[in-house]
């Protein structure tokens, strides 16, 4: 990887490689049909073809490659969750990101700069202590830091000493970082298509033909295809698509909004997040300040932004870094997120024998792209859910074994 980059950098003509083939004709049947060509679907296709010898795979994408939430997220990668099951899962997510550029032979620009979550109240600080202890116990780098340390980590922060939003301390997560979201999807797509996976863009899944407890075929806007196994990985449309197979998921759709400022000189090294202000910031490698926050206040299938949410994000950002007040916004957008009641994903089996779920990724699923792809591929290939994924089964809602991660997801990243 580094050698190839060096060669490319020294070349005269910067050769462009067409890594992802144009959409081919649909075949009558595939061993595995993956619904949704976002990061998750593509990662699963990569793992199926590279590690399990299954290359009769079609990824069916209704729009363009990775144009859903993979294109819209703010790229926070971290493992400082609350439940042991959650931490163990996201820890593997971070570890896979650490080696992802090598794995894909594609620079995903993983930048492990650390994430600092701020506490403005004693109650938040107490919750940080329990998160830090659980994190350390499971081998992640997470610790509670005091005011002095916060100032050292991010000298430009407004500490608001004596004010209503005084920063009392923080949760410092050295494993946290970011990666380039598009590169992650493209890297997986390029690898998968090199091994025979077909990526069908502008092809919409419109229904499933279910016979008994199996999906017999998938109805698409370009025709019907027979399938061995089916994976649903359609991001914000997971509820809608699963319902086509008669599976009603405990999911509600909420828009999540984000925005970026004009590029600035590098000044913000770490990722900074405030639970109380529902705002988080990260400086991208282009210098733009990416600003995200909490979900919209009510259910909606719409990717339109609203002025009040954008004002709220701006308010939080300017409170933390007052000198941002004169900086202009460059772009703003929203994505539809598939929110679960406990803020944890739904992975594994469905009530149908050959239909698998990679759903409920809500506002937190980008970081899980490699691990979900790897583990869902293993699940499909072996027909058995690995231990790491078992706690995330759909049945947990029937057995009341929820994995409550709300407190680690209040600022949605």
């Amino acid at each position: 990887m580094p050698l190839r980059l060096l060669k490319y950098g020294l070349s005269r003509d910067y050769p462009v490689s067409g890594d992802i083939p144009a959409t081919p004709d649909l075949k009558p049947s595939y061993d595995v049909v993956i619904v949704g060509g976002g990061g998750h679907g593509l990662a699963c296709a990569h793992h199926l073809s590279k590690y399990h010898g299954i290359s009769s795979v079609a990824v069916i994408e209704k729009g363009y490659l990775a144009g859903g939430n993979t294109a819209r997220n703010t790229t926070t990668i971290r493992s400082n969750y609350i439940t042991p099951e959650g931490i163990a899962f996201y820890k593997e997510a971070v570890e896979l990101f650490e080696g992802l550029s090598q794995e894909l032979d594609f620079n995903v620009m993983f930048s492990q700069r650390g994430q600092l979550t701020l506490a403005h109240t004693e109650a938040t600080l107490r919750s940080f202590h329990s998160r830090a202890e659980m994190g350390k116990h499971l081998g992640t780098r997470t610790e509670v830091v005091d005011q002095k340390m916060v100032e050292e980590l991010v000298p430009s922060l407004n500490m608001d000493y004596g004010g209503a939003l005084e920063i009392l301390g923080g949760l410092w997560h050295e494993d946290g970082g970011t990666a380039r979201h598009d590169a992650v999807a493209w890297g997986y797509a390029a690898q998968a298509s090199r091994r025979g996976v077909e990526i069908h863009q502008r092809t919409e899944v419109e229904g499933f033909e279910v016979v008994g407890d199996r999906v017999q075929s998938v109805k698409t806007s370009r025709g019907r295809i027979a399938c061995g196994q089916v994976l649903i990985a359609t991001g914000g449309m997971n509820y809608d698509v699963a319902l086509m197979a008669g599976v009603e998921l405990p999911i509600r759709c909420y828009p999540l909004q984000a925005m970026v400022t004009q590029p600035l000189k590098p000044w913000l090294h770490t990722l900074v997040s405030s639970v109380s202000l529902h705002t988080y910031l990260v400086q991208s490698s282009r210098g733009e300040i990416v600003i995200g926050g909490g979900s919209d206040p009510y259910q909606l299938y719409s990717t339109r932004s609203t002025l009040d949410m954008k004002e709220h994000l701006a308010e939080g950002a300017v409170h933390l870094f007052p000198f941002l007040q004169g900086v202009r916004l460059l772009r703003q957008w929203a994505g539809i997120t598939d929110m679960t009641p406990d803020y944890s994903p739904i992975m594994g089996a469905s009530p149908l024998q050959n239909l698998w779920l990679d759903c409920g990724w809500g506002t937190w699923g980008f970081k899980a792209t490699p691990v979900a792809g790897k583990r869902m591929a293993e699940t499909i290939a072996k027909g058995r859910v690995p231990d790491l994924l078992k706690p995330f089964a759909l049945e947990r809602f029937e057995t009341f074994r929820l994995l409550n991660e709300m407190g680690a997801t209040a600022a949605s990243h």
């Binding site: 509820y239 809608d240 319902l243 009603e248 405990p250 999911i251 509600r252 759709c253 206040p297 009510y298 259910q299 909606l300 299938y301 719409s302 339109r304 609203t306 002025l307 009040d308 009641p341 809602f397 029937e398 009341f400």
Partner: protein, 88 residues
């Protein structure tokens, strides 16, 4: 700014309201199996289309119902809960 029409207070800034999500059937505690409790607790209407949902006007603490399109976000009407459940 978005306006929502409260059946009691008239048109107000949407910031004054809080959403409480789609109306769900109330299970009978004596006769409900675990699976139905789970359904009641964790599943809510999320189909693309019109939902009937609870809202609260926060300053007056008044709860009412709205019919809203989950795709276009158009509020078709708002009304007092007594219209749906006639009290004896």
């Amino acid at each position: 700014m978005k306006i929502l029409t409260c059946p009691m207070n008239g048109p107000r800034n949407i910031d004054e309201f809080q959403s409480f999500g789609p109306v769900r059937a109330e299970p009978d505690p004596d006769r409900t199996a675990d699976a139905d409790w789970s359904r009641h607790l964790f599943r809510a209407e999320n189909r693309k289309g019109i939902v009937v949902e609870w809202w609260r006007h926060v300053p007056s603490n008044y709860f009412f119902l709205a019919e809203r399109d989950l795709v276009t976000n158009e509020v078709l009407r708002t009304f007092d809960a007594s219209e749906r459940w006639a009290h004896p």
